[in-house]
């Protein structure tokens, strides 16, 4: 709150000051079927506009693929959504009640946004099992963490996820000793444990074999519906496989949306062809 608006508020006798009203913790509201609103976002680093008047809406339960050449602002966009970077202008809302720009990274994660990084980041000196335990969203306060114990329901949930990601027989291994592909899967498993409403996935199939790619595509498709999934990917075959005929694909270029539509529409868009083929 700026000082002048604070002053105005204090001199207005007919209102309860906003800072004295109880701060109701906002509950996620998706009445309008839109889970994520990004409007007029801009951010620049040393004069370089990484994001330039970006508008993007993600529907509840949708699977959205985002493609774009290097430097199109894909990762910066994810940084803004997860609270790592604050934009210079614009707004970002999660549902209709949660203003993402007012929250920091842990609060955004607790509100229900999960993120998978481009380079698999798992906790290397913890076991596969412990990695999944830490991803569970139930305990976050320091003193509750000290006494936290797993109940049988939670153990079942971990077993379920660990089987799904194919690391059942490796659950005691340190995560650092897994292969690259296994780490990718473990990180996906951690996201599943976290049960986010919105999943941001940055290049999930980098370093995966073709079979693994197929399995990942299958998993991401099965997650949409109950979660919204945003996938940023370079690999065109994988995007085609994910988007199918009717899912929306967004093309980013120089920090704003260049084209949006089904995979076929996007591929035949003249502007997209220009950007990708450098005409």
């Amino acid at each position: 709150m700026s000082q002048t608006s604070l002053l105005n508020e204090i001199t207005d006798k007919n209102r309860v000051f906003s800072f004295m009203q109880a701060q109701a913790s906002p509950v996620l509201n998706v009445d309008k079927q839109i889970l994520l609103y990004l409007e007029g976002l801009s951010v620049s680093f040393d004069g370089f506009k990484a994001i330039n008047d970006l508008n993007l809406y993600i529907r509840d339960g949708e699977l959205r693929c985002i493609i774009g050449p290097n430097g199109a602002g894909k990762t910066t966009m994810m940084d803004i959504i997860t609270g790592k970077t604050k934009p210079d202008a614009g707004s970002a809302w999660f549902g209709q009640t949660i203003n993402l720009l007012e929250l920091d990274e842990p609060a955004i994660a607790q509100a229900g946004i999960g993120r998978k990084f481009q380079k698999p980041t798992v906790f290397e000196s913890l076991s596969v099992y412990d990695n999944l335990v830490l991803a569970m969203p139930d305990v976050r306060k320091v003193f509750s963490l000290l006494v936290a114990k797993l109940n049988s329901e939670q153990q079942d949930r971990i077993d379920e996820v660990i089987t799904l990601i194919g690391l059942k027989e490796h659950h005691r291994l340190l995560a650092g000793s897994l292969s690259h592909g296994q780490k990718q899967w473990l990180e996906i498993g951690m996201l599943l444990m976290q049960k986010p409403r919105l999943l941001l996935v940055d290049e999930p199939v980098a370093g995966m074999t073709h079979q693994e790619m197929d399995r990942t595509a299958e998993l991401l498709v099965s997650l949409s519906g109950s979660h919204s999934v945003v996938v940023v990917e370079h690999d065109m075959d994988f995007v085609r496989q994910l988007a199918g005929k009717d899912r929306t694909v967004t093309v980013l270029h120089q920090g704003s949306v260049l084209a949006e539509g089904s995979m076929d529409q996007v591929q035949n868009n003249r502007k997209v062809v220009e950007v990708y083929l450098g005409e």
Partner: protein
């Protein structure tokens, strides 16, 4: 039962706790043997061993934040010294009118400075219970304030290490000043007794040794409990991938803040047990070099194992005692050599060597 669950898979911890229990029983017995008996342990030796145990407790507190949380603290000596100063103030108040100037209330150095009454922060420290609380509270409060400022603003890595150095250096300069009311560069000394027991008496010395051993055992169990809990796992997660744990919803700054504060309290207790056994506390305890040395103990012993820190502290300090009596000029060279050899050949410390042997056999 709970205790056993905690150390069931912790061979090093089992050995450490068994050795401490053994020392608590054996040392008083051997000390009470007649002085010409071959197994007799002289009382000065008991005090030296007690000192090692308090330094081991200090190393344990550093391992908790450096080994498990990744905060390379180069200022933990400050918390140790603060705990020591609180204990020193209590011991000074116990002298009463037996000082050189015979003043019923003021310590000698205050009479010498022509002060006519006790400063407010010396009040209440004639009571042991109050001193005991302050031993935890003073280092804890400083660590909390320091941590709240540093961790909230996300200072980490080398910058944080430098700030911790600055913290202990600033405190050293402050405590050197006579106006501060902590005895200036002479510090606090000439203690007479503690909770009514004569500090020079053999029984008191043995009692302090036993208290140090118990404190080390309890400190170990506490640190082990924390590192085995889910909080300990979060600490390791923060150490290895800080931003990842943030995106998972953990408030990294709170985790760091509370563990750092607790570690400072443990260091304070170590300092409070150290002072009556060496008989003096002065501002040199705040010296930045001391704090760096603690990190060397932990590195030599083996980081992130807890018992490794204990082993490293006792090993280096024993070597220090040996060198400074036998080859006094060589000690710093020896310390440097040990540090280099360990870093190059034993990156996991002495404990890593033992573990390697165990897994080979």
């Amino acid at each position: 039962m709970l205790l056993w669950n905690l150390i069931k898979q912790d061979r090093g911890g089992q050995i450490l706790l068994a050795l401490l229990a053994l020392a608590i029983i054996i040392v008083p017995i051997l000390n009470s043997l007649p002085s010409d008996h071959p197994l007799h342990i002289p009382t000065y030796m008991v005090a030296v061993m007690g000192k090692y145990l308090t330094l081991a407790l200090l190393a344990l507190s550093v391992d908790l934040v450096w080994g498990y949380l990744g905060i390379l603290t180069l200022g933990h000596g400050a918390f140790f010294a603060l705990g020591g100063y609180v204990m020193g103030m209590y011991l000074m108040r116990q002298i009463g009118d037996r000082g050189v100037y015979g003043h019923p209330e003021l310590p000698d150095f205050m009479v010498f400075l022509n002060w006519d009454s006790l400063p407010w922060y010396w009040m209440g420290l004639d009571q042991f219970w109050f001193a005991a609380i302050m031993i935890l509270l003073v280092p804890g409060a400083l660590a909390y304030i320091f941590g709240a400022l540093a961790f909230r603003s996300r200072v980490s890595g080398v910058y944080l290490s430098i700030i911790t150095q600055a913290l202990t250096f600033a405190l050293m300069l402050a405590f050197f000043r006579n106006e501060m009311g902590f005895g200036g560069n002479n510090g606090l000394t000439d203690f007479k007794d503690i909770i009514g027991f004569d500090l020079q008496a053999r029984e008191t010395r043995v009692g302090l040794f036993v208290a140090s051993a118990i404190a080390l055992a309890l400190g170990y169990i506490l640190c082990r409990y924390i590192t085995q809990s889910r909080l300990g796992k979060v600490c390791v997660a923060v150490r290895d991938a800080e931003s990842r744990s943030r995106f998972m919803g953990y408030r990294v700054e709170n985790v760091k803040l509370w563990v750092f504060t607790l570690s400072a309290m443990i260091a304070g207790v170590a300092g409070a047990l150290y002072v009556p056994q060496v008989g003096i506390i002065n501002p040199n305890e705040f010296s930045p070099l001391n704090s760096i040395e603690i990190v060397v103990w932990v590195a030599v012993g083996g980081r992130a194992t807890l018992y490794g820190a204990v082993a490293g502290a006792i090993f280096i300090n024993y070597a220090k005692t040996w060198f400074t009596t036998e080859l006094p000029d060589m000690w710093l060279f020896a310390l440097g050599a040990i540090f280099i050899l360990v870093t190059v050949f034993l990156p996991k410390g002495i404990v890593g060597l033992l573990r390697r042997k165990e897994s080979n056999s």
